[in-house]
């Protein structure tokens, strides 16, 4: 398989004593595999002459360092937001709890949503995992614009700190919900600088996201290794490309909307407030602003954002399932087109968040919203087809991916219900919707997100996480997930609205809320186990080797962790699975089409036992 005439090998001829002869051996002894970045042979490390320690981290433009910084910051934000969720659940475990005041409660759910959506789910995916993995998967030495990449991270960190500072300002943090609906977010209804701090934080992280989007798209278009055609890119990279494009469509709308909101709050504009109108008459004069405009702008960002938060995680699952089924992705091309279809449709469904305004064209937005189920369904069948007739190995990342499938299935089915306006009328802004989007978002950002975390952790640190602790994490999270959110569907159908700090005690809602609170604490406990796992891996390193999972894609060809510029040499790239092809030359994918498949079977003799 060492086809030296192949163009891809021109990149870097094997250095004597290392590299090609050694790399395909997947079962190297741990001490041989556990070495640091490119021990010895490379010698071209910029690291050796540059700054060290914290200064190295502060000045780094290496996508791997930035990716890890992103990941650590976003996981810290995730834990903060999770602690807020526990307070919210404790408050709701009794009808008239005095644990929190109404004002504190409003601050907490606003910040819980803002942290989870703006500072965890997105940055964890496109700032953390994508930053780290995408250049590796396409055989690039770094992102296209390394300094812009560093700027993205520092803007994100600054924005995150700004957001958290909201708790320290007079009047408390923002308390108008993560959607900041006008005119509740106006200076009259929400005075105090908590709201301004929130806006500034999102402007900062918004620019950070836009820059990352630019970087991802440019990297994937221009820095692919020779042989890495578009249709040989791993699905994760494909999804990050589409995510990057969606970021460029969606985030500028949010950022400009936020600036308009800031002008409304401070410069006397009336873009989102109905200034000087006599509302009782129902007549709207031309000088009026429109609260509805905020909803339109916000959701024109917000719905693509939902897919910005989903596509990367679909990508993770599509990496994990084939590896632990020991098969290629089923329906690779269909998967790519399904991703594009989801992205295209996602820009035309924003008003399904506004069905109950009475001011949107219901059939149009309903049909497009229902239609999104089709490409999403295709992905489901691709995932199932990938496992079908496979040899499934239930490692921690695999369990998390299967957890994602089940969670997202439930969230998806209730999503189809909510795409129908009459059903939305009945359930809008109730706990039914809360349960729906938590099942979707926990399914993607948490189940799939931590599938990716467990999956790529050995590549990032060169160490293995403990699989038993990982499985405990999974099973507790899985149980806690259903215990938390299933009662919320029921209590939502009974009419419990979201964002209430108290509720009548005579309606029988308390028992559902108590169960939900217990579930939330089970989830919290599972994430305690994850911390324990990380602690254990840090104290007692178990070397991982380059390719502990016998994985398919290019990033598993290099060392763990990879050297400064990722690769000294590359395998030939002739399919979506260059590392697999290199390690299993007898088990290449069956080609597409019936004739090709027959020819392939004829060419192959008896299967190698």
């Amino acid at each position: 398989m060492t086809d030296v005439t192949d163009v891809t090998d021109v990149l870097a001829p094997p250095a004597p004593g290392t590299g090609l002869d050694e790399l395909p051996d997947l079962h190297r002894s741990p001490d041989a595999a556990g070495h640091g970045p490119q021990d010895g042979h490379a010698g071209h490390g910029h690291d050796e002459h540059g700054p060290t320690g914290i200064l190295k981290w502060l000045t780094s433009t290496d996508h791997k360092v930035i990716g890890m910084s992103y990941m650590i910051t976003s996981i810290v934000m995730f834990y903060f937001a999770g602690i807020m969720a526990l307070f919210i659940r404790l408050q709701l475990s009794s009808p008239h709890s005095s644990l929190l005041t109404f004002g504190q409660y409003n601050e907490l759910f606003t910040m819980h949503g803002s942290l989870m959506l703006y500072l965890f789910a997105g940055p964890f995916a496109f700032g953390g995992l994508a930053n780290y993995v995408v250049p590796l998967q396409i055989g690039a030495p770094d992102m296209a614009f390394p300094r812009l990449n560093a700027l993205s991270y520092w803007l994100y960190l600054t924005g995150s700190i700004t957001m958290m500072m909201g708790f320290g300002v007079a009047g408390g943090a923002a308390s108008f919900g993560w959607v900041a609906y006008a005119p509740l977010s106006s200076a009259t209804s929400s005075p105090g600088i908590g709201g301004d701090v929130w806006i500034m934080a999102l402007v900062l992280t918004g620019f950070s996201a836009i820059f990352t989007g630019v970087n991802l798209v440019a990297t994937i278009f221009y820095l692919r290794a020779p042989g890495m055609t578009m249709f040989r890119m791993p699905i994760f990279t494909w999804n990050m490309l589409v995510t990057g494009i969606l970021i460029l469509i969606a985030f500028p709308v949010l950022t400009s909307g936020l600036i308009m909101l800031f002008c409304d709050r401070h410069f006397g504009t009336h873009i989102f407030t109905v200034g000087g109108c006599h509302l009782v008459t129902g007549a709207v004069t031309q000088t009026c602003g429109s609260p509805l405009l905020w909803q339109n702008l916000f959701w024109f960002f917000g719905h693509p954002e939902v897919y910005i938060l989903a596509l990367p995680f679909f990508g993770i699952v599509t990496e994990v399932l084939p590896v632990f089924s020991r098969k290629p992705v089923f329906g690779y091309k269909g998967m790519v087109f399904a991703t594009m279809a989801i992205a295209a449709l996602s820009t035309g469904v924003w008003a399904h968040h506004m069905f109950t305004t009475g001011a949107v064209l219901l059939p149009f937005f309903s049909f497009l919203s229902l239609l999104i189920a089709v490409p999403t369904g295709i992905k489901f069948f691709n995932w199932i087809g990938t496992m079908w007739h496979g040899q499934l190995i239930f490692t921690t990342p695999m369990l998390f991916s299967i957890g994602f499938l089940l969670a997202f299935l439930m969230g998806g089915v209730t999503g189809i219900m909510l795409a129908s306006p009459p059903i939305d009328f009945a359930t809008h802004d109730t706990y039914f919707v809360v349960a729906h989007f938590h099942q979707v978002l926990v399914g993607t950002a948490v189940f799939a997100g931590f599938a990716g975390f467990y999956y790529w952790y050995p590549k990032m640190f060169g160490r293995l996480l403990n699989d038993t602790l990982g499985k405990w994490h999974f099973w507790l999270l899985f149980v806690g997930f259903w215990v938390t959110f299933m009662p919320q569907y029921v209590v939502g159908l009974k009419g419990m609205p979201r964002r209430v700090a108290s509720y009548p005690s005579n309606l029988g809602w308390q028992s559902y809320n108590v169960v939900s609170t217990i579930g939330a604490f089970i989830i919290a406990f599972s994430f305690g186990i994850m911390l324990w796992n990380l602690w254990a891996a840090w104290r007692k390193p178990v070397p991982a080797g380059d390719n502990p999972w016998d994985a398919h894609t290019l990033e598993w060809f290099t060392t763990s962790p990879p050297p400064h510029h990722n690769y000294t040499h590359l395998p030939p790239i002739r399919s979506e699975r260059p590392t697999w092809d290199y390690n299993h030359p007898d088990s290449v994918a069956v080609p597409h089409g019936l004739a090709a498949e027959a020819a392939h079977r004829a060419r192959q003799k008896e299967p190698v036992a």
Binding site: T188, G331, G358, F367, I378, Q391, M410
Partner: protein, 281 residues
């Protein structure tokens, strides 16, 4: 006729946790819910079984390399086309139900103007014959002559509606966004400043129903309750006439909005339209 078929089919199936709907609109929604729930159960259950089958059947049992299948064209076409057909079917039923739920036929049996405010509700009915408030929502209405019910937070104002006839609600907000939600009617609608939105209820039977604000509207959002009382048409007429007579004989009995509720909007300009001209006090 599809709607009727759906209706008939709906009579025998459970409500799957939802209210059966105390209005014709709510009942229509409930039938659509039943359809979606069953469809979701069938499709979701099918996919769930496939996942579970794959997970349990294809556990790793040997070192044998699985066949590296990547495509199956016929299968791919099937699982693209069938979902499209299901979605189109669901869409047809959605539009049928939606047209029913959203319809506002002319000449309703009663018209009620609802203003939401932080944190309460105002329900306005027309005054009696010859009063200056034939239509509370119109700009020319003399607000002094309207029948009003106003209540804040825990006072739970009650909206009285007649059964068996179309009741048109004209809804807006005096300050921030609110949500007008009656769970047992399976219906909610935003009350927004800036425009008025209209919808109908056609109550099927008498009864008391709880209502609540669903859209976050500030500090006391959690306490913004109201009640809907559905009474027979004759009782409604009696009640309304008594209220109209009371307004005529004791104009001062017309309830006022709490001070501080702006009829303008939440603007940060010093507003001179605090509603004095509109509420006549």
């Amino acid at each position: 006729m599809v709607g009727t078929a759906l209706l008939l089919a709906g009579c025998k199936v459970p409500n799957f946790g939802e209210y059966p709907g105390a209005t014709t609109q709510g009942k229509t929604e409930n039938h659509l819910w039943q359809l979606f729930f069953i469809a979701g159960l069938v499709v979701g259950g099918f996919v769930l079984l496939l996942i579970l089958w794959a997970v349990f059947r294809y556990r790793r049992k040997s070192e044998e390399m699985p066949k590296q299948t990547q495509y199956h064209t016929l299968m791919e076409i099937t699982y693209t086309v069938v979902p499209i057909l299901i979605v189109v079917g669901l869409f047809v039923f959605t539009v049928l139900a939606e047209n029913n739920v959203d319809a506002t036929p002319p000449d309703p049996g009663a018209t009620i103007t609802v203003h939401a405010f932080q944190w309460g509700w105002e329900f306005e009915y027309p005054g009696g014959p010859g009063s200056g408030c034939a239509n509370p929502g119109s700009p020319t209405a003399n607000q002094n002559d309207c029948v009003k019910v106003i209540g804040q937070t825990t006072q739970n104002p009650t909206m009285v509606i007649p059964t068996g006839t179309e009741v048109q609600i004209n809804l807006n907000s005096l300050d921030v966004l609110h949500g007008f939600y009656v769970p047992q009617f399976n219906f909610s609608r935003y009350a927004s400043p800036g425009y008025t939105t209209s919808f109908d209820f056609n109550a099927l039977h008498t009864g008391d129903f709880r209502g609540q604000c669903t859209q976050l509207c500030g500090l006391y959002h959690s306490l913004m309750f109201f009640n809907v009382k559905a009474v027979t048409q004759s009782k409604f007429a009696t009640w309304l006439h008594a209220q109209q007579a009371l307004v005529k004989s004791h104009p001062s009995s017309v309830p006022k909005l709490p001070s501080g509720v702006s009829t303008g909007s939440s603007t940060n300009s010093s507003s001179n339209n605090q509603g004095g001209d509109l509420y006549g006090d």
